[in-house]
Symmetry: C2
Subunit: 171 residues, 2 copies
Amino acid sequence: MSERGTVPQVTRGESLLFLTDDQLRRGIEAMFFAYRGFTADPDRILAEKGLGRAHHRATHFINRLPGTTVNRLLEVLGVTKQSLNRVLRTLIDEGLVEARVGVRDRRERHLYLTDAGAALERELSDAQRARMRAAYRAAGPDAVAGFRLVLEEMMDPEHKRQYRQGQDRAQ
Amino acid sequence: MSERGTVPQVTRGESLLFLTDDQLRRGIEAMFFAYRGFTADPDRILAEKGLGRAHHRATHFINRLPGTTVNRLLEVLGVTKQSLNRVLRTLIDEGLVEARVGVRDRRERHLYLTDAGAALERELSDAQRARMRAAYRAAGPDAVAGFRLVLEEMMDPEHKRQYRQGQDRAQ
DNA sequence: TTGGAAAGTCAACAAGGCTGACATAAAATA
DNA sequence: TATTTTATGTCAGCCTTGTTGACTTTCCAA
């Protein structure tokens, strides 16, 4: 907070002009507008099917973590179990997700996408990846590396852990 | 869509490995987790005051565009006037925003933050900038340039325009 | 075997999106 | 001047997706 309105000093020959309040504000607005673009395409598809963004998030991570328990999914998504339950209810009722009672622990429900669920997930992620791919291609590999690094540094520590655990799957 | 599950070919000596579906998925998850971090600190402050993220977005852009009309703000925020109206109503009733009747065109309302509104805006953006600054510092200037470039490429064209117009203010 | 913890469900509420219809005032135009 | 268009605000009602609280079922450890 101490740097507001000031121009950071040049130290050891490095310019710190990328840390001015104005540059930070630009970054904040970039996040705001980019996130809108990021969700726009899946949102359109979901709206047609009477589903919402929450269903997309759930199917994404069920696809990524097949057989996950509800609890595990709760940690990743960061919502209350009641909130997730409503979304799962819909997905199960519509035949997109299957909840299998745990074998070792019968309190647990292990979640899997059905064929229809996998098809939906693919449709949504295809749309999202298409935009991402276009942006990556336009920006180039070095920019992408920077993009990923800054995003990682913005995460809460526990999300950073989860994010890193998601590495090297389906290579 | 055509590249799913394939490894992009190396063309003209460039590696296109940063465009694999898996790399794109990583970017998607990075956006998801980072956006959570991005909004977490202001959300906590807002919750204490009985306000929501929508109030933050409104005060942010009223601060950035002092004297903006309601219509202009609607375009930037991308919500309906009914939705914005509810938010503005609260902000005006709580003495955080002032709506002045237009001089040239008396149908217009020009929006300004009051002193209390400016103080709230500063508290919120200080919190958000603090996280941003830490991420920027940790990632370094080159990463930040890449971050901003990729985000810009992810925006819808009209948001990209608005984003670019926001350059070079309060230098 | 029993009491607590864990997983999941049901009910109710709130924020903040949305649409539609309508009112008012002012500006622009025929 | 009469009419239409524009900018704004408001009411009503709906939906999604968060929340908390209370409850059931199941498991496990004392």
